[in-house]
Symmetry: C3
Subunit: 139 residues, 3 copies
Amino acid sequence: MPLPHSLSALPWTALVTVLAILFYFYTGVRVGRARRKFGIAAPAVTGDPDFERVFRVQMNTLEWMPVFLPLLWLCAAYQGDAGAAVLGLVWIGGRILYMIRYSEAAAKRGPGFGIQAAACVALLIGALVGIARLMLFSA
Amino acid sequence: MPLPHSLSALPWTALVTVLAILFYFYTGVRVGRARRKFGIAAPAVTGDPDFERVFRVQMNTLEWMPVFLPLLWLCAAYQGDAGAAVLGLVWIGGRILYMIRYSEAAAKRGPGFGIQAAACVALLIGALVGIARLMLFSA
Amino acid sequence: MPLPHSLSALPWTALVTVLAILFYFYTGVRVGRARRKFGIAAPAVTGDPDFERVFRVQMNTLEWMPVFLPLLWLCAAYQGDAGAAVLGLVWIGGRILYMIRYSEAAAKRGPGFGIQAAACVALLIGALVGIARLMLFSA
């Protein structure tokens, strides 16, 4: 059976990780900007629905980081660099769509959310297939 | 001395990671359900104590993910796959108890919280012992 | 070219990871203490600006954990253990300053925030240089 890949020899997955972190960081920059625009001074995080939606985009992205990043790396370790990296780009794309639409209206957040969730399901399947293969064939 | 294990050859730890992510994801699904049940539309996250407790279960699990996951993998890398995976299952068990009890009343959240915290302390000790051994014997 | 380092043979980076987790855990302990001091019972997270600042220190540290930890390990994998570990210590130092000053007044949170952000930028550059080198020279 093919051995799992060394985690430090997966440059495309590493690059997608950096891109995901930069995108996530940008959702935080938008919160800072929205604080000034809507006059919500720290530490408050409520007071204006337009601000709260921008804040929830950052929070929801934060909530998904510990789902996305471990699944990305598990999938990469077991299924290879390129496939995991492409699914990671799909996740970032879904997240960008979610950010744009949710900032407009809460009701518009569905499609982007679905795309990024589907990317995570695909990464999950890749990880589970790899784990099962490792358990069955390395005994 | 025994070399640290390659992170990509730890299938039980990888499986427990996936289970922990699925459990954490489920705490988010419960927030969506509680939004509908108690009539708290996004982006609001306050307004009803019954909703807020369900929301806090997800948030507290999120807060512990960057404690649990790195310690799980450090312990696995230095102490081996099986021990770390068992401690990871204890953590998930404590988290499930915490979720069930906290959803009933804030005062009931203690025991589950204690179990998952103890699992993290054990993972921390495993990681620190491994780090010390690596520093002392590989010089 | 130098091969990336095996992630499980980076003891100083592992130690800094444990220290960062312990510091982050401590920001949560302070929230528990502030709950009692200012009389904010769970699940509430608002109601007193002095409490809210202590809570936001924990939340902001949580928000930065998925930025800091992956960049720390990517930088360590590509640039070596010692450099990444030193930058990780700078990050923790900036975070401690941020915690102390933000707890006093929201306006004082700037310098600590800047130091920890600069450490993350340095880790990011280290990671990107390593990724680029791996892509260019291993083809």
